[in-house]
Symmetry: C2
Subunit: 217 residues, 2 copies
């Protein structure tokens, strides 16, 4: 159906679309996919020919319904495979992403649905990211950040904006994971760094860190 490269572009555009209101820029795609802007322009034209994106020269792209639907199937596969790796194969949450990047391109409708069944239809992946169902419906995502809590407030860790291996390893070191209860003890006026109680333990988190942690109750 689609090439691996086309799928990577669709997924990238899907993710970038969530952070902007207008079209997704050539440069943001090239940055995310580690390619040059010129390569993006070329591919984007091909995707437009295939009616997967709307493309206005110089003003970026956005996914068509068909493009979005396909992007969601890739995201679904990526996150299901991450569940499999963590829940069944003893991978750590900070080492599944690169493998899932490969596995998400395996083409077999039956494989995805059987994997989903095998994992008992998980709603969130090991990083708290929602898994689209077979029809492309996304469970709600928690979008309140730890940095938005005031002194004395508390929340339960529901997901992470940055899921780089570096950040995930850092969180693991502080014993923060999905479900960890975090109470804000103090917010430093100077740099907005936070002193917090995470599962009884007192820790200190920079603004950069608190901005990348989603909380709920």
């Amino acid at each position: 159906m689609f090439t691996q490269s086309e799928e990577n572009y669709l997924k990238a555009i899907f993710h970038l679309q969530q952070d902007v209101d207008g079209g997704v820029s050539t440069s943001s795609i090239s940055e995310l996919l580690q390619t040059k802007a010129a390569s993006v322009t070329e591919m984007v034209k091909k995707l437009a020919d295939k009616k997967l994106v709307h493309y206005q020269k110089y003003y970026g792209v956005h996914l068509t319904e068909s493009g979005r639907a396909h992007a969601l199937t890739i995201v679904r596969k990526h996150r299901l495979w991450e569940c499999f790796l963590v829940d069944r194969l003893n991978f750590n949450w900070d080492e599944v992403h690169e493998v899932a990047e490969q596995l998400e391109h395996i083409k077999s409708a039956k494989l995805v649905e059987e994997l989903d069944k095998f994992l008992e239809h998980p709603l969130y992946d090991p990083h708290g990211d929602p898994i689209p169902d077979a029809d492309g419906n996304l469970p709600k995502r928690f979008k309140k950040k730890l940095s938005e809590l005031k002194t004395g407030e508390q929340g339960v860790c529901k997901g992470f904006k940055d899921d780089s291996s570096a950040f995930l390893k850092f969180l693991a070191k502080q014993d923060i994971g999905l479900g960890t209860a975090i109470k804000v003890l103090n917010i430093e006026a100077f740099d907005e760094s936070v002193t917090a109680l995470a599962d009884q333990k007192e820790i200190s988190l920079s603004k950069t860190a608190t901005n990348n942690i989603y909380v709920g109750n």
Copy 2:
């Protein structure tokens, strides 16, 4: 490390090597991989540059130690994934091959070893083909064919030479699978077709069929 295409060539040469004593011919590779002979010649030169095969113009190729080692890792992955699909995801044995052709190229040493552990170190895949261990050691393969049994002899089905979907579906229809006991009742002098008792049921098998079924006791 290696491209998907290079891996497919290595695996093809590995499989073809088992049926011939001299070098593996360009045409046999091109037939197996559904490419043209000219493409094979090109790739084979590249593999020779990388010291994965020995290549003598006009006399075919054979794997070097390094080429064989890598071919074995791909075969290992292919067969482990087939086990996973059949044993854990409810795939039929005749629908796993194409998916395993994709999965065998996923690059992650940890994934292979964890999958092997998860499956409890299987020795044979769903078609009775032996799974190389992490060091590249292959369990013994049964190589006596059903067509070699004489009237009155019996054997237990241990594997299949042809594992095309068509043949596997045919076997399933006759209720023949790994472990099925088969007793030869009669061999037709005319075309060497066999009447046999397979798990109490009387069935008739062509020479083509009996040539593709391996038996042991």
